[in-house]
Point group: C2
Chain length 424, copies 2
């Protein structure tokens, strides 16, 4: 008998955990990703702020699976999925499957304003992070060159849109840069003159946290020179200024650097799957899946991670790494049981809590009824991240780089790379 | 009395050593570079082959000088130099100087074929190295995807043009990848099937070395799967094949990856200086300078490093880091003596020998009459490079990464970054 074929699309947390847990299934596994590496996305903001290099948080997918001959890795883009004939279409090839796991995640969304992307880069890919890094450090360099005080202030004003964990981590990292790392680096200004504005449309930043923890985060951000404005909406944006609305009050703010951490939308494969299976898409473009993460009427086709809308205890699960990991592992177990003709398992989500980091050595953490903050929360954050990095073998370097940065407050990866069309 | 103004253009080895040795001169120093970092160019080939991240070999210039208030660093492009009025022109600013040091180095040259750059990237900047890395690792990925054996062989054939140290190091690094690092990574082929061709126009690779050492290098390269072809000229080049001429014999070679390590030309500031001062330019565009590195009739304007044509004992000094460092240090001493009204020093070049690395643990070294090779030469190479990296504070990380790579043969920085116009 030929072995069964499992195709996994996407090498993020969901796809990787599915693949790892299918190694002993006896099936032939093909992992397809547009990129040749797994990206440890939770640390992407550290690349954007010059603390880590891209290579520190990216692991080559085929290096992870090199020992397993039954896992084949392809760097390719999936153009279409034919559910009726059980085929995945690449540019010049088709792959048949018995089981399919789609885990292509999400990208940032500018809602009704796709034109904003040029002025306010988001943070989902390595290239995004390098573009942010380029803009952040270029702004400081331009401030040093600039001889007009108002224009200098505009270069030293950073606006972060969106008060979720990414926005908070970015704003904190820029505050940290301005107050510590870049101290004494400039001759025309003090880097502590830097202003960081964190704008949030809702009534509270970090809405997944209880109000007292969010308040503690605001205080810590203030210490790093970050001004938090809630109930504030961005209404206009160009290369040199923004217009924001807070209640009835409209204000213009001059700034040369706007960073986007506001919205996400699901990968376009979601719409293809929804159309082919009759599944519904939610507002973010996520596919509504059943209790086994499968599509309606296609028990062998699974959607997991940020691309899936999975209702658990009456609410959709959030788009965070632990959900993707647990779903990947669960789907692998389900397939192994199916292949072995055993009873299928049921998915139970285990909430591992929330952690958000604030600058160099503080964080807030919530685990069920337990709440904590400050240095202990930061320590938990660091240990949790190092633990997960272990599996992708970058642990040694990242922890060393962190130890080094922590002791010296230096940031070695501050280089302003040029865009390829500006090469000289 | 106002302090004297020294302007240094270029933050490479020459400019950096000049600045460091002028710290105590009492003058006000402005260091101008297009980029915000010093690049440790001798290790650029390791970025191109995925062994190191760009951040590992780049040091922010203003971090190097943060403690010295008398040194101002500007990230800007110099558009013109007005020798008569002693002014350096930036985009929207002019800087006056009493002493000027120009050390803007060189870039790669495609001789009469600028159109070749698209098909065969060179290796002078971080972006160049990332483009090479992208092409090298993409070729292996395409070979895995590809189902036509001839096309797969073309993806697995790498051609390096130019048998100088850079070409030899690149070819050795790709051989190392194919034979060790990527072993077992692919399912459709054995990575040892990879062919690396190193093409050299002259009769010997590594022309700065005696023939027996060059022969030893060829043998070591052969062990890594590299075929060395001397007296072979590239005559045509497109995206899928090359045409080469060896004596009367012309051959076509299918390949998807051609890397350029053949020629250099000096930075365009050389021509501006030559025109303004009456200095001569050599064939590579380098400025002929006098015994103090100064321009004719402009004793306070110095050209050093790869941009200078300095005749020493009847021959021009080579474009290598030790020359730039020694000239930077010398010019600083000359200016300090001048400021103090003391006798001017004379430049004496101290030849520190030559070192070229061949794969993971071999090198060849020549120091005056002393020649050695193999692992001892590699150890010297590693120690020398770490020693120079000390000053730029990346030593710890680089040596750790090397230790790690050496033990595991892994390469963590293998990511295929996309060009910015291909972002998804």
């Amino acid at each position: 008998m030929l072995s069964k074929r499992i195709v996994i699309i996407g090498g993020g947390f969901g796809g990787l955990y599915a693949a790892k847990n299918l190694v002993k299934s006896g099936a032939h596994i093909t992992l397809i990703d547009k990129r040749n590496f797994h990206l440890f996305q939770p640390l992407l903001y550290q690349v954007a702020s010059g603390g880590l290099s891209p290579g520190d948080i990216a692991s080559p997918l085929r290096a992870i699976f090199k020992r397993y001959q039954q896992i084949e890795t392809l760097m390719a883009e999936v153009l279409d999925i034919d559910l009726a004939n059980k085929k995945v279409k690449l540019a010049d090839r088709e792959l048949g499957f018995d089981y399919l796991i789609v885990a292509t995640g999400s990208t940032h969304s500018y809602f009704q304003h796709p034109e904003w992307e040029t002025f306010a880069p988001g943070l989902k890919t390595i290239e995004d992070a390098l573009e942010m890094r380029r803009r952040i450090f270029r702004a400081f360099e331009q401030a040093e060159l600039c001889q007009d005080p108002e224009q200098r202030a505009a270069w030293l004003r950073f606006v972060v849109i969106g008060g979720g964990p990414t926005g908070v981590e970015l704003a904190g990292a820029i505050g940290e840069l301005a107050h510590y790392t870049l101290k004494n680096d400039f001759r025309q200004f003090q880097s502590a003159e830097t202003e960081v504005l964190l704008l949030e449309g809702g009534p509270q930043i970090l809405s997944a946290y209880p109000p007292d923890l969010a308040q503690a985060a605001v205080r810590k951000l203030n210490q790093l020179g970050v001004t938090v404005k809630t109930k504030t909406l961005l209404t206009e944006l160009d290369a040199h200024q923004i217009k924001v609305k807070s209640g009835d009050q409209v204000s213009h703010i001059r700034t040369e650097t706007v960073l986007w951490a506001a919205g996400v939308k699901a990968s376009p494969l979601g719409a293809i799957l929804a159309k082919a299976s009759g599944a519904e898409l939610d507002r973010q473009g996520r596919v509504q899946v059943g209790s086994t993460c499968a599509l309606p009427n296609h028990p062998n086709v699974f959607v997991i991670g940020d691309l899936a809308h999975y209702t658990f205890k009456g609410a959709p699960l959030p788009g965070v790494a632990p959900v993707a990991m647990q779903q990947g592992k669960f789907v692998a177990r389900w397939i192994r049981a199916d292949l072995a003709g055993k009873n299928h398992p049921k998915f139970r989500y285990f909430d591992k809590g929330n952690l958000a980091v604030l600058g160099r050595n503080a964080a807030i953490a919530k685990f069920r009824r337990l709440k904590f903050r400050g240095f202990p929360a930061w320590l938990v954050w660091a240990l949790v991240h190092i633990h997960y990095l272990i599996e992708f073998d970058n642990k040694v370097l990242v922890s060393l780089q962190w130890g080094w940065n922590f002791l010296t407050r230096k940031r070695g990866a501050r280089l302003i790379s040029q865009k390829s069309d500006e090469r000289s």
